[in-house]
């Protein structure tokens, strides 16, 4: 579904990713963990082509993506992204946020987009908020709208960049609940998060990044009970 091979990314002299190989299977939920600065968010942004990789390849559905040849906008439409700070469009209502991309990018008819948008808002439990502006929502509600907005493009993969890090603790659960539901429905997901309970319960595979390299890749039980790398053990004792 999504495959990165030998991904290198530098910002100036700083090499953030030092050769990452990662393949995500259809319907798989991969959780990326690691201390801050380990490169997990950068990796996610590379998969969405918000950052250009310096070396290596990214394949989507078996097709290697070359940013010079492919239209990036078309590729990004297939890879959804949910951001830490939601990035909802403040000048549009909740429903308008959700239907904007299908109408503008996919040229969907407005009436059809509204039907789709309302379905998605119901899915994330926000049917009653369709006509309000984002400024009237709580953080948890905003993030659920952002998820609905990404889903409206029917992406093949959904990337989550610390989706609950900007939320008050009591609002984290409602967002994780929606994500868990998506995972159960078979959505392919790559999630950067510090929520270890979520990783343990929902992930098919947990990947530990350290200084730009993958040092551990295991199912949750193995990851938490018998990690192989010393840094992983330290990390687990730190977050538990």
């Amino acid at each position: 579904m999504l495959k990165g091979s030998n991904i290198h990314k530098s910002f100036g002299d700083l090499e953030v990713l030092k050769g990452i190989d990662l393949e995500v299977a259809p319907s798989e939920v991969v959780v990326l963990v690691g201390v801050s600065g380990s490169g997990k968010s950068t990796l996610l942004r590379c998969f969405n082509f918000l950052e250009r990789i310096n070396k290596g390849t990214i394949e989507i559905d078996g097709e290697a993506i070359d940013p010079k040849k492919h239209k990036l906008s078309e590729i990004r439409a297939e890879v959804g992204m949910v951001f830490q700070h939601f990035n909802l469009f403040p000048h549009m209502t909740v429903l308008e946020n959700v239907i904007e991309a299908p109408i503008i990018v996919k040229k969907m008819k407005k009436a059809d987009a509204i039907v789709l948008g309302k379905q998605l808002l119901e899915k994330v439990g926000l049917s009653d908020k369709a006509d309000v502006y984002p400024s009237k929502l709580s953080g948890g509600q905003k993030q659920r709208v952002a998820i609905a907005r990404s889903l409206a493009m029917e992406p093949k993969v959904l990337l989550f960049d610390e989706p609950t890090s900007a939320l008050d603790p009591e609002l984290v659960g409602e967002v994780l609940g929606v994500m868990q539901q998506l995972a159960q429905e078979g959505m392919t997901m790559v999630v950067v998060t510090h929520e270890m309970k979520f990783a343990r319960e929902v992930a098919d595979r947990i990947i530990m990044l350290d200084e730009g390299r993958i040092i551990e890749s295991a199912d949750p039980v193995t990851f938490f009970e018998s990690p192989s790398h010393e840094r992983t053990k330290q990390f687990i004792s730190l977050v538990n």
Binding site: N48, S73, R76, V79, N87, F89, H91, E100, A101, S150
Partner: protein, 220 residues
């Protein structure tokens, strides 16, 4: 008291001509604002474009306009352009004011566009929007809203600056005041009256702007 009386007398004598001239002032201001907004938008987009050539052109325009006095620009356009094409004083003045405004409005738009959080552009990109779709649908509407207070300020400046076109004999408010003062020998009173005309116009405009801003805030 005596001054008040004579000011009132001057007001009564001059208002038929002054009201007509007010119309000219408003017309020239309106044309200058429309032109200035169009120029401002075009040059703001050039300045934030990825093309070095377009950036250079925009920078050149803004540097020249901001670096020279408006009255010089008016004279230059009037005598420069009218040697090539036939242009009335009104249009020469309106175009000069428009070009002049464009430079300032370009900076207002540029600042507002660049002030929009980059997460907005990233979110629209991640949804598959192209750069221009994201600009048109996401960034620009938000930037425009933020531009309204500084634009209102610029509009007020334009209204007052339009008095400078008296120098090329456009029959607007200030030119009319000059003419009256030369005839009635009551310069002090005449300029007091014309000052009041501008003040009232600006106050009306400020009030309308405030109503509009309030409406925008209610919408959000």
């Amino acid at each position: 008291m005596e001054l008040l009386q004579t000011v009132f007398d001057v007001f009564m004598q001059t208002y038929p001509g002054f009201l007509k001239a007010t119309l000219v002032t408003l017309q020239i201001t309106a044309v200058a604002l429309v032109l200035g907004t169009v120029f401002g938008l075009v040059f703001a987009l050039m300045k934030i474009s990825r093309s070095k050539v377009l950036q250079a052109i925009a920078n050149f325009y803004i540097t020249i306009i901001r670096g020279t006095p408006l009255i010089v620009q008016i004279m230059f356009l009037y005598f420069g352009i009218t040697s090539l094409v036939v242009l009335s004083g009104f249009w020469a003045g309106a175009i000069a004011l428009g070009i002049h405004n464009g430079a300032y409005i370009a900076e207002i738009f540029r600042g507002a566009i660049q002030g929009i959080d980059k997460g907005q552009r990233e979110a629209s990109s991640s949804l598959g929007m192209t750069r221009s779709q994201s600009m048109r649908r996401i960034v620009f509407p938000q930037a425009l809203k933020r531009s309204i207070p500084p634009l209102g300020n610029q509009f007020i400046i334009t209204l007052k600056d339009s008095s400078l076109v008296y120098i090329i004999s456009v029959p607007e408010l200030f030119a009319m005041a000059n003419r009256e003062a030369a005839q009635n020998w009551q310069s002090l009173e005449t300029y007091l009256v014309v000052g009041a005309y501008y003040l009232v116009l600006v106050m009306i405009f400020t009030y309308l702007l405030k109503l509009y801003e309030n409406k925008l805030n209610v919408d959000k």
